[in-house]
Amino acid sequence: MNKARRNPLNTAAAHAILLTYTLIALFPVFVIVINSFKTRKAIFREPLALPSPETFSTIGYETVFKQGDFFLYFQNSMIVTVCSLFLVLLFGAMAAFALAEYRFKGNTLMGLYLALGIMIPIRIGTVAILEMMVATGLVNTLLALILVYTAQGLPLAVFILSEFMKQVSDDLKNAGRIDGLSEYTIFFRLVVPLVRPAMATVAVFNMIPIWNDLWFPLILAPAEATKTLTLGSQVFIGQFVTDWNAVLSALSMAILPVMILYVIFSRQLIRGITSGAVK
């Protein structure tokens, strides 16, 4: 591999392959976004051209704002994602601390029980989940989604966080105990701040699947008032399938929030994956 370091031909080939794949990865996003700013005619005549002063148009966005309640959908998605992440992190860290810190009967068994959900997707239980939500009157509420995503996120969160909590120094915790701190204070004041990077990783891992999920919003909360952005854009695009301006604009608007989140958190996400949190 030292050879490759010095060989300019190899380096050029490496860049060529990576560049080609980067183009393949970004091309669809690029095409959607540039065409969302063009007139209908220009979309069809020159789909690959950038919008020029003559072809620039925001008619698609106007339709989207008039017809769809995207701010409400966005707000719903935000509430669901933020609340679920908060609960996953809080409950996950607490359980992980209990498993990593204390020896008690059934510790290993409890760990295995919580780890079951890593491999078995929660969607298998959809029929009974819906029945339960109907029985408890939680259908078409955001709370139903929050509960489902919290349950979905917990297994991996407990697994990753307990690995990290085992590394927190015992001396520190014992010093706290000698000073008379309660177990709760030790957890919230000493341990949580130390595993904050791991918690950020867990948050980023969970954030994308929750934000993008279509299955549970479709089944548990399809009402207009509780639609998430993903479901809302799916329904909207389905209705306006022949209005290309509106469809392209709706797609661009659905891409935007995720891209912003990605730009903010990409470092954390990539560090999380490559640091071997999911070995």
Binding site: A4, A25, T126, T150, I208
Partner: protein
Amino acid sequence: MAEQRSSRLRWHIVVFLAPAVIVYTAVMIFPLFNTLRLALYTEVEQQRVFVGLQNFYTLFGDAIWSEQFWNALGNNFWFFFIHMIVQNPIGVLLAAILSHPRLRFAHLYRSAIFIPTILSFVIVGFAWKLILSPIWGIAPSMLDAVGLKSLYAPWLGKEEYALTTLALVSVWQFVGIPMMLIYAALLSIPEEILEAGECDGITGMAAFWKIKLPLILPSIGIISILTFVGNFNAFDLIYAAQGALAGPDFSTDILGTFLYRTFFGFQLQLGDPHMGSAIATAMFVIILIGVCIYLFGIQTRLRRYQF
């Protein structure tokens, strides 16, 4: 370790564990087993009646049901097969190139290639549907530019191509994950091992095949099982691109869309939670078999190296 050897119940452990265990049990584990149980019931005159394995006899014995089930299962296996033969090699190739030391712009490439993975299926499904559409003509005109226009077909609309096309779209979306995991595995190979290889004259491609590839096999195993589980409960992409009917003529129907149609109903067919549970049970068994094959058949045979 806090080893308070007192025999009394330590309440803080209960308090720490309770919220996670309660939510997880109530919303995940209990419904999972309840769904398996519901598969043994059916509804007669709005009363739930225990019928044993009747739903499974219908699912596998009734021609209409079994045809749909085997079609969905077969499609699902093809979907998975395409992922395995396309996604993994591309992921390994990109990761191998990215892990070269001193490659410039590596983090830029990495972030850009990961972008499709963060987009929702709805965006990906519609975006590719538009791009491949014969009405818009981006795909045909681009093929025309390289002289391959004759190869173009409305891929998503043709029974013989639609499923493969969607599988490739899904690969396009998720290639970032194998790339990252393998990249991480490659970075964790100690330099000394590679140097030892170099002393024995193993460099370049040979070093990759003989040293690195065997060392990243456990990562490839994990990616395979993650892909398997993901593919066998996939739904969103097919639903976003082709609708609940998984057209044309059910050629893109996989277990997830089949479950949705059965459970929730569509057009004239009424939803049937009990048949839905039976299908969910079948999916559960398939995923369980896959996970067991991985855990007991593959993972134990892959040697893990600790550095």
